[in-house]
Symmetry: C2
Subunit: 229 residues, 2 copies
DNA sequence: TTATAAAAGATAGTAACACTATCTTTGCAA
DNA sequence: TTGCAAAGATAGTGTTACTATCTTTTATAA
């Protein structure tokens, strides 16, 4: 049984759907590799075209500009991760166990999902850690948000927020705690590897410790405010 | 009594010290205004030169490139904030009260400090929220870190980490909690104003609520792991 | 008062970037 | 076989990100 996993993307993210052609898939595949290797600042469509063996103009037929492509990649990642969360927490009753699974999925190195042939989730995860916030930290954020470009991120945040409420219906800040978990899973990873004195994991460089930190953070909050509301 | 506040900056941050000349001060003043208005992506030295009434080449005598200027602005901001933290928590004995003061300083709109004539801290604060992380989220982060360009940020983080330990010497993640407070004070603010569904403060848009959230987060963690170590 | 050196201004130039346009070729489908 | 969409090839334009050089202004020390 061979299963292909296809993620339906918002059409405003692209000019031509990259999943519908060979060139489109190459653009996704190679842009992930290129950005991972050289960073988003140095990334240009011309360089990407060279890497693929096509032309600049060809890539512009798929994406308006490199920022849109970054938003596409992040949207794809968050959609995939929400699917992972849904899948991995399926049939789990205990909301605490579910939330722990989410923290694990967010903070731990992902493995390449072979069902998505042109996306290496492991590398994409690394990109999202370093470049992900640049998708929305712009002057255009409100416009882009009106086009629902950040919906996958917001959806995932909502899913996690609901799990938090399942754990403790009286907790006052489920959405903020959810976005904190998501961002900190990545930031602590970046700090651990690049600015280690900003974390307590600089020596071990062990992602498992980030998981423990986040669990401590989350479940302390959820326990302490359980009574009264 | 007129007091001027001067912050000693790492010399690797600039080619010529902007605090030592009128043009240098204009560069700082106008770059803050320009970036606040139009965002860092659209910012160029040519446009800045026009705003100031000087030439592009003139600005290149002070800063290698716009990324270095951003690092300078963030370093300045964190230095200034560490000074604020030290000043405002001076003579406070209770570490819990100190930590609450820090959260307040981080998460609340700052007022312009008139002792720094060419820096509007209130606007700079807004810039740091949106653009601050871009200073270190790059491929060059390790090199820049070796030049100690992020020292002010790391110093502030260390100060807060020590306060955390004062509150609870057994807490296991003081540095990670410190960096979490710093980043989340800004991210929750950005989300509240731009992607409100990622927070619980979208309706009120009240910074005071971010303070309450962070206090809840921090002191839950510090209380719950107090025994045993 | 003059010499002089540093800062700033003026101007020019280049390679790369961020696109847009147009024309041709290829591949497939009715 | 014709016809159309995708891709390739090529060219062009304004902007960005610098570097270089030459001149003028300004502060100050002899």
């Amino acid at each position: 049984m061979e299963i292909q996993l296809q993620i339906k993307m918002n059409e405003k993210l692209f000019l031509r759907d990259p999943e519908q052609s060979e060139l489109g898939k190459k653009i996704i595949l190679h842009s992930i590799e290129w950005i991972h290797k050289n960073g988003f600042e140095a990334f240009t469509f011309k360089k990407l075209a060279e890497a693929i063996g096509t032309t600049e103009a060809g890539i512009y037929r798929y994406f308006e500009n490199k920022h849109r492509l970054l938003i596409y990649l992040t949207a794809w990642y968050w959609s995939w991760l929400e699917y992972q969360v849904t899948f991995q927490t399926n049939n789990i009753k205990d909301p605490v166990v579910k939330l722990k699974m989410v923290i694990h999925l967010l903070a731990t190195m992902v493995e390449d999902d072979i069902r998505t042939s042109y996306v290496d989730e492991s590398i994409l995860h690394q990109i999202i850690i370093t470049e992900g916030t640049k998708a929305y930290l712009t002057k255009r954020v409100s416009e882009d948000n009106k086009d629902h470009l950040f919906k996958p991120y917001k959806d995932l945040c909502a899913v996690i927020g609901n799990m938090i409420l399942e754990c403790n219906p009286h907790y006052k800040y489920p959405k903020s705690l959810a976005s904190t978990i998501i961002e900190m899973a990545h930031f602590q990873n970046f700090f651990m590897n690049n600015l280690p004195s900003l974390t307590d994991f600089g020596k071990s460089k062990d992602e498992a410790e980030i998981v423990l930190f986040l669990e401590d953070l989350v479940f302390s909050s959820l326990q302490s405010s359980s009574v009264g509301g």
